[in-house]
């Protein structure tokens, strides 16, 4: 199957998203840093701040996943370089490390429950988490009540996709 072709089944679709610029940002004290990056750094793990198309998802006490459209890559890179000159940080580009699928539809929770042990019904819209899907580490964000983004390291993607496709077939069978 072409990775860009959405899989449509009863109640859920899985679509690969175009690449974006992703930076893993690590630092001890996020105070004031958000302004320098053009997106606030929220300090609660799982929460995500956005500004326009730029977002920062807090994944750990000192870790944020910054996402921006590729058109903003150069601007963002310059802002980070400027920040790094003043503050002890680690900024590592991981745009190619992982891919993201948009998973949406009324059956999205059932589909994700095929491999994710978390109670995702309790995840608020606009938040996210690093978690696990069928033994593979993923990052999930909830974009709407019935829409999630699932981000997974590139080499694991075929396995996760294969499980999702099996679960989609299962949902489509009606049993």
């Amino acid at each position: 199957m072409n990775a860009m072709t959405p899989t449509i089944a009863a109640g859920a679709t899985v679509t690969e998203l175009a690449p974006t610029t992703r930076i893993v940002l690590r630092l001890a004290d996020p105070g004031g840093v958000g302004i320098a990056l053009g997106v606030p750094l929220s300090e609660r793990i799982g929460s995500r701040a956005t500004n326009g198309a730029r977002s920062a998802l807090c994944l750990g006490p000192d870790e944020w996943l910054i996402e921006a459209p590729e058109t903003e890559a150069a601007t963002l890179g310059a802002m980070i370089a400027d920040l790094a000159a003043r503050t002890a940080i680690s900024a590592v580009e991981v745009s190619d490390r992982e891919i993201t699928w948009r998973i949406e539809g009324p059956a999205v929770l059932e589909l994700l429950a095929a491999g994710c042990p978390r109670n995702l019904a309790g995840m608020p819209v606009g938040e996210g988490a690093r978690t696990i899907f069928d033994s593979v580490q993923i990052v999930l964000t909830r974009e709407a009540e019935d829409r999630f983004h699932l981000t997974v390291w590139r080499s694991f993607a075929p396995h996760v996709r294969a499980i999702l496709d099996l679960a989609l077939r299962e949902l489509a069978s009606g049993l």
């Binding site: 793990i45 799982g46 750990g60 006490p61 870790e63 978390r118 690093r130 978690t131 696990i132 580490q137």
Partner: protein, 100 residues
């Protein structure tokens, strides 16, 4: 599969997100060269392995990534408490409800 409270995420989450990481409160000596062979052996290999209350480390490896400490009762396999790395041992009597 247990539920584990991650003290950094402040959420109780499935064990599948976590990895066990051995006994807690065993600090690496600041200057290992000062230790005798016996002391170094004890640091490397000797663990309490209790039947009952065990202070141990876990890592929220498929989550926030942090190592943290836990108190687990090994007979019933139940967590009594979890707390951030670097915090002192909690009082066991308080946790088990044996304190006045």
């Amino acid at each position: 599969m247990l539920l584990i409270h991650c003290p950094y995420c402040d959420e109780t989450l499935p064990e599948l997100e976590f990895a066990y990481a051995g006994e807690a409160h065993i600090a690496r000596p600041a200057d290992p060269s000062k230790l005798s062979d016996e002391e170094w052996r004890d640091f490397l290999f000797i663990r309490t392995n209790p039947k009952g209350v065990h202070f141990e480390r876990w890592r929220h490896i498929n989550g926030c990534g942090r190592f943290f400490n836990a108190v687990r009762e090994t007979v019933g396999d139940k967590f009594l408490s979890t707390y951030e790395a670097g915090e002192p041992r909690p009082d066991v009597a308080t946790l088990t409800g044996e304190a006045k």
